[in-house]
Assembly symmetry: C2
Homo-oligomer: 225 residues x 2
Amino acid sequence: MLSAIMEDYLKAIYYLQGETDERVRTSTLAEHMGVEQPSVTSMVKKLAKRDFVHYEPYKGVVLTDTGIPVALEIIRHHRLLERYLTERLEYDWAEVHDEADRLEHHISNQFADRIAEQLGNPAVDPHGDPIPTADLDVSPPQSGETLADQQVGDKVRIERVPDNDPDLLRYLSEHGITPTTVVEIVETTSFGMVTLDPDGTDERVALPEEVARSITAQTLTGASN
Amino acid sequence: MLSAIMEDYLKAIYYLQGETDERVRTSTLAEHMGVEQPSVTSMVKKLAKRDFVHYEPYKGVVLTDTGIPVALEIIRHHRLLERYLTERLEYDWAEVHDEADRLEHHISNQFADRIAEQLGNPAVDPHGDPIPTADLDVSPPQSGETLADQQVGDKVRIERVPDNDPDLLRYLSEHGITPTTVVEIVETTSFGMVTLDPDGTDERVALPEEVARSITAQTLTGASN
DNA sequence: TTATAAACTTAGTCCCGTCTAATTTCGCTC
DNA sequence: GAGCGAAATTAGACGGGACTAAGTTTATAA
Ligand SMILES: [Mn+2]
Ligand SMILES: [Mn+2]
Ligand SMILES: [Mn+2]
Ligand SMILES: [Mn+2]
């Protein structure tokens, strides 16, 4: 009916168009999928012919109302699998992404619903990303803020971390940083380094600003308090 | 590395060549895979070039020592998944086959080992088929006998049932026939009907001889006792 | 307003796994 | 050992998804 590859394209388009429904450019999609641009052009034409995306040559693509639920279904599968693997099959949160990225295309909705039930219908995956419900409602991001937006002295609660970099995930969990962790910003430098103090420990954790910008967090108290 | 389709061919060849290492003919394989003969010829050439099978034109194929472990790995995945789905995710034994037949190609060995561990390394799947161990040892069939080989009055213990016919599986479980069930043969007819009495109940269960021949069973006591 | 670089699409090729139609080989009977 | 039907193979095509090379379009900036 719809190949695993096509599903990955739809998922990527969903992710890249973000909240703002921006058109996703061929080059962006090519970069993200790890293929050359002509492969993308050829694929988006097929997706457009089957009405999963609006495609305007030279302008990019946007998901249609047909495409969105397909993307959300796959995302639901992915995040439920990640949660199930970590909670029930003793996977480390750094390992789950690749396994989930394959299996998401091959489990039935029944399978997804069963593991959701086993887990008590969790709202978020191990990286803090929201899990769409069975009828594909997805909660909006709690805040748009990232660790890079903070001032020295701010205390913030980590919301979500990127899920596709095992090394980073291992580093973060080794230093006690996971979603719901509270950290204080202890230093920011002009050359792009952010230093954190997790939870009231004395440990310092340093992150490049680009990484800090990929971690979202909710402000608890400002430096002014 | 090896496509899901190729894995299914190898699994089919393993199944069809059976214990006896008979050559599997193109037509048999085509029938079993639900494809036309030229598709099989073309595929077995590819498998032969990659040394998974010995192929002799017009004579058929046999798995090589390279091909056998690949087939066994997939069979291990399949049967572990069936067991996991029935035991942990509330699937009915009639439903598990199709889900397992897809997922078997996409779970990692790590995933398989984890669910095996969760289940306590079971020896058989829900249909009574042996599950190869992590190092791919597979126990030989307990006996070669089937329900069609029995005499009236014999008591036998059901060993394994075919796993790919949901209607049959539903029928059997509704009438209390599963692996390890003990049944008595109460009637066999010249026109190919076998009637059973499960376990000491008064219920009669009738099966066509062809179906009876697909169910293996171990003789407990003969009519002469 | 036009030149130029970057982005994008088109054209053509390849491998995969399937198909139909045509041909060859096998195995058996006479 | 010739003939014949069944089984298998070869030939050629197609859709999926990728690639490289070549040609367009767009955006930008002189
Ligand atoms: Mn994927
Ligand atoms: Mn995740
Ligand atoms: Mn399969
Ligand atoms: Mn089975």
